[in-house]
């Protein structure tokens, strides 16, 4: 397989293709929309193209991305399938793509989830269909760009590119308070990322100077490539602290860490189903990905500092418990799942900032598992909303009687969400806590109690949806999932169980990159780093 892929040049064209195909598709969709509009064609029969084209593009993306599984060399720790060309040469900005064990699965999760997500709006989105799907295509380019970027400016560009379509999706196709939620989402995340832009520019100029001083470049023009930043960026302690804070502002809002999380429940509640799926499954991961990709290797001194790293971990752990408790008392199902997202991302933060290989692998698995389970949950919330036009838990009950298959899918997603072994969710949670226990045992024990609370709120909500008496007249005639909806849920649930039983291939592919990262941070090989941390304790 690998030989075949390389013989057709897969390694050279795959990443640019994956990245720009959705953007081209977006233009096509828009032009088609303009054409139909000018021709006075309005109505369902003219929207078929607007649904099928994005769907086919996402399917093509998915099929193409499958090759990554074989083309990616599991033993390699550095970026693979790279391609670089100048973007803005005068400012030293490159368009530089590549994936390693950290981004490989995030890219594949994007391509896996997007065809599923686009199906969710198949019948419920009925106005401006062209624009809706075109925006999702743009969003996809943005998300893939963040995960593929090897250049700080490019990273920032795609980071912000994600913001615009999401803002419009929430603001145009959202619920009753969509403008408030969209504005809050936009301003909040935008404010955070502006700090990041300043820090990126600072680093770029510093790196340019350092490379010029080292005689590597003829001019002192800035340089934003990741590997140059890792190699030539040597900030002083204070500098590093402030730059860390600037990046932290962007990433913490995106993850989100408490207390920067209040945009999330609003955005989720107002967003259309597909928007929620992308938001929870992928957008949040951009924050944790940023922490892993940029914060850890660039500011090891700050991360390992006696209290700065600890503060972040405390925020994560408090977030786990705090948002779980809040989720426990939610009446709106979507809000409940939104808060549970914050809780889950707390586990990822714990895994990232304890900087152990086990913990980081756990953090990656938490991200992927949460991506799948929250996607499934939001899709199912959307299905019920389409049928009943309400999301209040008190409006349901006993649905397992009329929608048995729906109940089955919901149970699988729930079990993964609360981390039952044999599902994807457990792998991440367990490894994260396992990794965290070495450096910060007490905090990890506190975080572990989060699994009780997560069982509490998830089972409580599930009980009120699918169990309990079937006593509402409106619920007695609800149709079970149809073929389209089953087609969305079956792949996700199959994946949840499959990876829960056999996560080793994923772990094997991400381990070299992550253990290299841990070595970078600790400045010593992993085993020695672990023992050093334990001595410090």
């Amino acid at each position: 397989m690998r030989e075949f892929l390389f013989s057709v040049g897969y390694d050279r064209w795959i990443l640019p293709t994956l990245l720009f195909l959705p953007a081209i598709g977006a233009l096509l969709t828009w032009f088609h929309g303009i054409y139909e509009y000018r021709a006075g064609h309005v109505g369902r029969s003219y929207e078929g193209f607007a649904r099928w084209l994005p769907f086919s593009i996402f399917i093509v993306e998915f099929v193409l991305s499958l090759g990554l599984w074989w083309a990616y060399d599991p033993s390699g720790a550095v970026f693979q399938l790279t391609s670089t060309w100048d973007w803005i040469p005068d400012w030293g900005v490159h368009m530089s793509l590549g994936i390693d064990g950290i981004s490989l699965f995030l890219v594949m999760m994007v391509t896996f989830l997007l065809p599923i997500a686009v199906l969710s709006g198949w019948t419920s989105i009925d106005r401006a269909v062209h624009s809706y799907h075109a925006l999702f295509l743009v969003l996809t380019t943005g998300m893939l760009g963040v995960f593929m970027a090897r250049d700080l400016i490019m990273f920032y560009f795609f980071w912000e590119l994600v913001l615009v379509p999401m803002y419009l999706i929430i603001g145009v196709w959202g619920g009753p308070r969509r403008l408030y939620a969209a504005t809050k989402f936009f301003l909040y995340t935008f404010l955070g990322s502006l700090f990041m832009l300043v820090a990126i520019l600072y680093i770029g100029f510093m790196v340019g100077d350092a490379m010029y001083a080292a005689g590597l470049t003829p001019t002192d023009r800035p340089n934003f490539l990741f590997e140059n930043a890792m190699a030539y960026f040597t900030p002083s302690g204070t500098e590093a602290f402030w730059l860390f804070l600037a990046f932290f502002a962007a990433f913490a809002v995106k993850v989100p860490l408490i207390p920067f999380h209040t945009w999330l429940p609003d955005a989720h509640v107002e967003a259309p189903t597909e928007g929620s799926v992308d938001l929870a499954a992928i957008l949040l991961k951009m924050g944790t990905y940023g922490f892993i990709r940029i914060t850890l290797p660039l500011f090891p001194g700050v991360v390992l500092h006696s209290w700065v790293g600890k503060v972040v971990i405390v925020l994560g752990v408090v977030g786990i418990i705090y948002t779980a408790l809040i989720a426990l008392v939610q009446e709106d199902w979507k809000k409940l799942v939104a808060y549970s997202s914050v809780s889950h991302m707390g586990f990822a933060i714990l895994g990232i900032f304890t900087v152990t290989t086990v913990g980081l692998q756990g953090a990656m698995m938490v991200q992927l598992a949460h991506g799948l389970s929250s996607a499934a949950l939001f899709l199912m919330i959307g299905m019920l909303y389409e049928r009943r036009h309400t999301r209040m838990l008190s409006d349901f009950g006993g649905l397992a009687r009329v929608m048995p298959l729906y109940a089955g899918f919901l149970m699988i997603a729930t079990l993964s969400s609360i981390g039952v072994p044999g599902t994807f969710g457990f792998v991440g949670e367990f490894l994260t806590l396992m990794g965290g226990f070495g450096p910060v045992p007490m905090l990890t024990v506190v975080a572990t109690t989060g699994v009780i609370l997560s069982a509490g709120y998830m089972l409580w909500s599930v009980q009120r949806i699918i169990f309990n008496p079937l006593d509402k007249a409106e619920n007695k005639r609800l149709p079970d999932v149809n073929w389209r909806e089953a087609g969305m849920l079956i792949p996700i649930c199959a994946m949840i169980i499959w990876i829960g039983i056999y996560p080793a291939p994923l772990l094997r592919r991400m381990e070299p990159s992550l253990s290299r990262l841990v070595e970078q941070v600790h400045g010593v090989p992993t085993s020695a780093a672990v023992s050093r941390v334990r001595e410090a304790r």
Partner: protein, 775 residues
């Protein structure tokens, strides 16, 4: 690790024998679960229309009239009646032509009821599951084959009696950093005993279920869950590392959750399932933390590795004590010990076979298995072992006391189970690991029997109530009485189990309970445990106290079990005039398992006969069998002490005397004839009410833990902190309102009058010129 590699090196004596095929024992129930789950799905799921906005407007397909008639007549006839051939038209028009001379008006009602039910809920309720025969064959068949393979493996093991476990790695489950966990099986004497119990008792209970659940609309779903449960339970006992065990540990929790809430349209059932899962989760936190500590200190999660590491440590280090206590926390959750026992009585909301299989015979004993499996860890931590024994003793006594005043027949058995589990923990706490496993096995026999017998009783009650349209409590003993006349087989078998649990020789429970109490007494002198101390009190004193409390519990056990038997099977029948005409013995699918379990309850004691009673058969078979697994740990914790024969004989005599006193006392003191049906009985007062209310522990937890947590979350965290302070003040306040306020101040400068602007301009020009001039 080295041990494991050596064991896995293929030169193992069990290599190539039937023990190699134990993976099949695990997979067969999974296969059954998959098939039955599929059958359940295709009978339950009709794909909806493509567009969910389209609601089916057509009428619901009417159930074929013939099935309704069949159902109605079967209900009337109590299930064993040939249906009359009268058509639906006759029924609807009310012609009095239906079978068996029963009141035809009633038949009409039943028919109408089912009609209304079917239409009201918009569901065609099939009277039987469409795939009933297939589901039964798959459900019971996979279990039976699994049992046969387990027996073959057991026989192979008997032949070669291996000293080390057979460990087979299948695939790498997780490999991350220094952690490397393979999906692998660990076959040794202990796990094969557990496997035999699970598959053997499990097969019987599955067979029982084919009768008990026959009329349930979700027949296939039930068997899917049951098979899935057995799968996870086997993973639990056959896994070779704590992490693999944890898969089974949580998996059985999930199945238990699903099965307790099997009839989920009752809110109480769904609540009970959720409660079971959450309380178990509290314990699971202990399991997780224990695993983290093992990994960071011993760098492995394998049973072999961890036990070897613990055995190498000196006795009583803080590390091992902490690990042991965290492990025991998990046991307390799963095996319903104080203070986490509260879920088990509620779990009786599930179908009775579930209670028999999960909440009596197998899952709840997983905690005991865990302690025995981690013998070396607990042996290295005597104070933790004392805690185990103390919690076990207290739980045994506490639950037995509550059992004294329960009226629900299943609740009595539930508290009895908690109490017996307490005995098991008493045993493993004092290092008598064999005694613990022995009691686990015999308890599986007689408690499964008791639950199945209770199930038969409830089945009969339900049928009688259903026929007469009575909605009284079918599980309350005050509504029973005198069932000996209707259900002689069940009555006889239940008495066997009662004598067994009370400790009357020669029934199984006598041997196991006596061995526990004897070990507690024996270990009180000269053992490591006796040297240790807890809360400043020496281990020796603790053990004597445990022994005394154990005896007291034995007395209470005899009393409440006899009480249950008297109220259910003896005295006058309080079920009602019409109802008692419909009471009858269960079908053979239900009586056969009960009888088999009855035989096992009689003969189970021969597994491990004490030396003193050597004339009864081979001495200490189970002990010799388990020696390779538990001997070193038992020796380290409780070794060095053996009772003199005279003393042992005295102890046995005391135990028997106490059991006899309990039974005779109950027979003499309790008057079933004076009991009133539930609806007419007065409320208990004083200590009786306290016992009947289960010491009000649930209310206590609710009032001081659950409600404060929810209220604090809602009022303080959500409304106060999250919405109030963070969102309103920090985000909307500083992020939104502060800029707007500044903008408002600025806007006040805009008077809109040109002359004002002109003034500002002139002043500005003068200022600028002034600055440039003066500089």
């Amino acid at each position: 690790m080295l041990l494991q590699e050596a064991a896995a090196a293929g030169a193992h004596p069990l290599a190539g024998t039937a023990a190699e095929w134990l993976w099949l024992v695990i997979l067969l129930p999974l296969l059954g679960a998959a098939i039955n789950g599929f059958l359940s799905t295709i009978t339950g799921w009709r794909p909806g229309p493509f567009d969910p906005d389209f609601h089916r407007t057509g009428e619901f397909p009417a159930a074929p009239a013939s099935t309704l008639v069949e159902r109605a007549s079967r209900l009337v006839g109590g299930g064993d009646v040939a249906t009359g051939t009268s058509g639906p038209a006759t029924l609807v028009t009310g012609t009095h032509s239906v079978a068996d001379g029963t009141d035809s008006q009633y038949v009409e009602d039943v028919y109408e009821d089912s009609l209304i039910e079917a239409y009201d809920e918009k569901l065609e309720a099939p009277p039987r599951h469409r795939f009933l025969p297939l589901v039964s064959v798959v459900g019971v068949g996979t279990m039976a084959i699994a049992f046969v393979i387990a027996v073959l493996a057991f026989l192979a093991m008997v032949r070669v009696s291996p000293e080390t476990p057979l460990i087979r790695n299948y695939w790498t489950w997780m490999a991350a950093g220094g952690l490397d966990v393979a999906v692998s099986l660990h076959v040794d004497q202990l796990s094969i005993v557990m496997t035999l119990v699970i598959t053997g008792v499990g097969t019987l209970i599955h067979l029982f279920s084919t009768g008990y659940m026959r009329d349930d609309r979700s027949y296939a779903r039930f068997f899917a869950y049951m098979n899935l449960f057995v799968f996870f339970m086997l993973v639990l006992v056959l896994g070779s590392s704590y992490l693999i065990m944890f898969i089974g540990w949580e998996g059985v929790g999930v199945c238990s959750y699903l099965l307790i809430g099997f009839w989920f349209t009752e809110e109480a059932n769904a609540d009970a399932g959720k409660k079971a899962f959450i309380v178990n989760r509290i314990g699971d936190v202990g399991f997780l933390v224990a695993m983290f500590m093992m990994f960071w200190n011993f760098h492995t999660l394998d049973f072999m590795g961890v036990n070897a590491a613990a055995a190498a440590l000196p006795i009583g280090t803080a590390l091992v004590t902490t690990i042991a206590l965290f492990l025991f926390m998990a046991c307390a959750g799963k095996s319903a010990q104080l203070p986490l026992y509260v879920w088990l009585p509620d779990a009786m909301a599930g179908p009775t076979p579930v209670s028999a299989l999960i909440h009596a015979a197998t899952m709840v004993t997983a905690g005991v298995y865990l302690v025995v499996r981690s013998g070396a860890v607990f042996a290295a931590a005597p104070s933790a072992s004392l805690v185990v024994a103390m919690i076990g003793t207290l739980t045994a006594l506490f639950a037995a006391l509550i059992g004294l005043k329960q009226w629900d027949i299943k609740k009595v058995l539930a508290y009895s189970t908690i109490s017996q589990l307490g005995y098991m923990f008493m045993a493993v706490g004092v290092g008598a690991y064999t005694a613990g496993v022995f009691h686990l096995v015999t308890h599986a026999f007689f408690k499964a029997l008791l639950f199945l017998g209770a199930g038969s009783v409830i089945f009969a009650m339900h049928r009688a109530y259903h026929v007469t349209g009575n909605h009284d409590d079918a599980q309350d003993m005050r509504n029973m009485g005198g069932f000996r006349r209707f259900m002689p087989v069940t009555w006889a078998m239940m008495w066997i189990a009662t004598l067994a649990i009370s400790g009357i020789p020669p029934f199984a429970g006598f041997f196991s309970k006596d061995e526990i109490l004897g070990s507690v007494f024996a270990h009180a002198t000269g053992s490591t445990l006796a040297e240790a101390s807890l809360l400043g009190v020496g281990g020796s004193s603790w053990l004597y106290l445990f022994y005394a409390l154990g005896l007291l519990t034995a007395l209470i056990t005899a009393v409440y079990m006899t009480r249950m038997m008297l109220y259910t099977f003896h005295g006058p029948t309080r079920t009602g005039e019409v109802e008692s005409r419909h009471l009858r013995e269960a079908p053979w699918t239900m009586t056969v398992p009960v009888v088999v379990l009855g035989l096992l309850s009689i003969g189970g004691g021969w597994l491990n006969i004490p030396e003193l009673l050597g004339m009864l058969g081979p001495v200490g078979r189970l002990e010799h069998w388990l020696d390779p697994v538990v001997a070193s740990a038992a020796e380290r914790l409780g070794g060095g002490a053996a009772l003199e024969h005279a003393l042992e004989l005295t102890l046995i005599a005391i135990a028997i005397a106490i059991a006899v006193v309990g039974i005779v006392g109950a027979v003499v003191l309790l008057r079933p004839a004076r009991l009133l049906p539930k609806a007419e009985s007065p409320r208990e007062v004083g200590i009786q009410a306290l016992l009947a209310d289960k010491f009000r522990v649930d209310e206590l937890y609710d009032r001081f833990i659950v409600q404060p947590l929810l209220t604090a979350s809602r009022r303080v965290l959500y409304r106060g902190l999250d919405i109030g302070i963070i969102d309103r003040i920090m985000v909307v306040g500083f992020g939104w309102s502060l800029p707007r306020f500044l903008a408002y101040l600025g806007s006040r400068l805009q008077s809109g009058l040109v002359s004002d602007y002109a003034w500002v301009m002139v002043v500005g020009v003068i200022l600028v010129l002034g600055v440039f001039t003066l500089r």
